[in-house]
Amino acid sequence: MTFYLQNTLGGLAYGGLLFMIASGLTLIFGLMRVVNIAQTSFYLVGAYVGLTLIARGTNFWLSAAVAGVAVAVLGFAVYRLFLHRYHKQELTTVLLTIGLSLVLQDLALATWGGNPRSVPPPAMLAHSVTLGAVVFPSYWLALIVISFLTAAGLWLFQRYTMLGAVIRAGVDDGEMLRGLGVDVDRSFYFVFLLGAFLAGVGGLLGGPITGAYPGLDGELLPLAFAVVIVGGMGSLTGAFAGSLVVGLVNTFGKALLPQLSYFTIFAPVAVIMALRPQGLFGRR
């Protein structure tokens, strides 16, 4: 019983972490059809920036917000300078973002050094709670809540705001939207900024679980893609569902069949690819 409770919570927390990374990726792709390979590099930069602020005594949550903003600014520069001309060309954006992640990775190494860092959770969440026989770190529980709130917030935003409507319409039929006189390009900027912001915040929020070290971005990238394959590229609901599925299957897979540890992330991916290649909530 404790085994199942602990792993369910663990799977949800891990899924929450994955959602923070994959949500930005899928948002950006959904509207703009840009595959941002540098998304996990944004995550890493966000973690480092957040750590720098925390070292100066800034509060954890504030640091996360500022890190998100910093990465959003980085995202703006990246989009403006490199991507905005090519957002229609899927292949080109993939290639561009590969190069950008190379540069970001190396510059991060130059700026923050090679020593692996630990990201301390905020003081009020630095303890563990006891739920029956299960001991669980309170920060991980908080991450579950945060990811649910983020997902809800994004969903509400898409559903009930003007900009959200523009985004939903743009995903459906960008040309028609332009024809109606809507400034779709401005929405693109906003979405890219939002995606970068999510990655930056995610970097610090996920830091207590993943740490921050050179190469983390390369290790998280396949995970992010596993989530969007399962959930469906471009769908926010899909990213949420995908991260929960991948998180839980990964956790229970490793807990029950540890000898298959290398494949637990990709087991749901394989199943989806075989049965429903567009993902749970994807189209086409």
């Binding site: 602990q6 090679g114 993943t210 740490g211 050179p214 490793k254």
Partner: protein, 420 residues
């Protein structure tokens, strides 16, 4: 389209620059037949990761060598030392390419490095084939000084099981643990660390109830922690780098409540401060600790902090001692380095009494016989350190086993020793 031309021009300029930078390096061989050496420089190749996941330990290795050179006035046996650093990127293929560069292009006289077991294994055939005297100060793959011994590579560090074999006994007899679970990252260093522990722990009478092997790049250990039986007395682990930080922290967070014991570099000074309070109380074996209380080490640590602004880690002490061995060997040959076989022989005959880790003597297989310290992580004045609580003197890579008997068994792996 003008831009295309500019790019091509830029690239051509870079390639030209590259060609000039490498073409201009003179070959540094000595002409044979020189009896008294007017100090021709001694070219030392340093093959370490400077980029990639292992950049941090690589930096420590570089600093260790730099410190020894500083203390030696940059001279080995009267010859000025020229260091050529090559970035192995922590990857065996890149390490091999850079080794070729050091040997064939830069024509170094000796090499110190690399870092990881995979790189170390991959380089053996080439370095032996080229007869390049090499010091392995960190690579601890057991078999390199057991069943398949290279001719030109001298190991000045340790074998992975050299420290954990005495520790298995210590855990049972001194710490009183009867039932243990093990978790280690899934590659040869982890297998050998756990293997040594399990071998002696079981022989002493202990029981290993579970062995887990998370993948190398895992960041989330919760699923593995959930599989540990509640009735163990302790958990033995082996991790390093970022994995060590995350594991030790998560171990505390998931509140198993049982003592954590580990292979020494899991709480290495390079990651100990980042790991934080979760590490306090962890007991580990290693052939070194920065908190070791002997005059040579006290001086080493003080000089290191003065030179680099932070304390040493086992990687730094490793390369420092490796360079010491090379230096002493050269001194015993009066600085002659063109007879590679003689240099290797001299290195294997080195007997150090003033290394930071204590006395070091080579066994006939080419591995050091040295002290193994049992350390406990303690918070001293707000800073974490590995306080030495017990010393096993003069431990060889075979522990208390007869070498022939030991070698008759297979190398420690995931499946050996079998858990009874």
């Amino acid at each position: 389209m003008r831009k295309g031309k500019w790019i091509a021009l830029l690239l051509a300029a870079m390639l030209l620059l590259t060609a000039c930078s490498t073409a201009g390096k003179p070959a540094g061989t000595q002409t044979p037949g020189q009896t008294v050496a007017p100090p021709t420089p001694f070219k030392l190749g340093l093959l370490i990761p400077l980029t990639g996941v292992f950049a941090a330990p690589g930096k420590y290795m570089q600093e260790g060598v730099q410190l020894l050179l500083q203390e030696s006035d940059n001279k080995f046996a009267g010859r000025p030392v020229e260091v050529v650093t090559a970035d192995s990127q922590g990857n065996p293929q890149a390490a091999l390419t850079q080794a070729r560069k050091l040997v064939e292009q830069d024509k170094v006289d000796a090499i110190i490095g690399p870092l990881s077991a995979a790189e170390g294994n991959a380089l053996v055939q080439y370095l032996d084939g080229q007869q390049m005297p090499t010091v392995y100060p960190i690579v601890s793959s057991d078999d390199l000084t057991q069943r398949t011994i290279p001719k030109y590579i001298v190991r000045t560090g340790w074998t992975s099981s050299q420290t954990t074999m005495p520790f298995g006994e210590y855990a049972y007899k001194t710490l009183g643990y009867k039932k243990v679970a093990t978790i280690s990252y899934d590659f040869s260093f982890g297998w050998e660390s756990v293997g040594g522990f399990v071998q002696t722990f079981q022989e002493a009478g202990g029981k290993v109830v579970k062995e887990l092997w998370p993948p190398l790049n895992e960041t989330n250990y919760q699923p593995y922690l959930s599989q540990i039986p509640k009735d163990v007395d302790a958990v033995f682990v082996s991790f390093s780098g970022s994995a060590a930080i995350q594991f030790v922290q998560q171990y505390k967070q998931f509140g198993l409540g049982k003592p954590l014991i580990a292979q020494g570099n899991t709480v290495d000074e390079s990651t100990l401060q980042a790991t934080g309070p979760s590490a306090v109380g962890v007991v580990t074996p290693l052939h070194y600790s920065a908190a070791l209380d002997n005059p040579a080490n006290k001086k080493f640590v003080a000089d290191y902090e003065k030179a680099f602004g932070h304390g040493p880690a086992y990687y730094a002490e490793g390369s420092y001692v490796g360079a010491m061995v090379l230096k002493k060997a050269l001194e015993s040959l009066n600085g002659k380095s063109d007879d590679h076989a003689a240099l290797v022989k001299a290195m294997k005959a080195v007997n150090l009494t003033d290394a930071p880790r204590g006395p070091v003597k080579m066994d006939e297989y080419g591995n050091p016989i040295q002290n193994v310290y049992i350390r406990k992580v303690e918070d001293v004045g707000g800073k974490l350190q590995n306080t030495v609580i017990y010393t096993y003197p003069n431990v060889s890579q075979f522990w208390s086993y007869d070498p022939k008997t030991f070698l008759a068994h297979p190398v420690f792996s995931r499946s050996y020793p079998t858990v009874k």
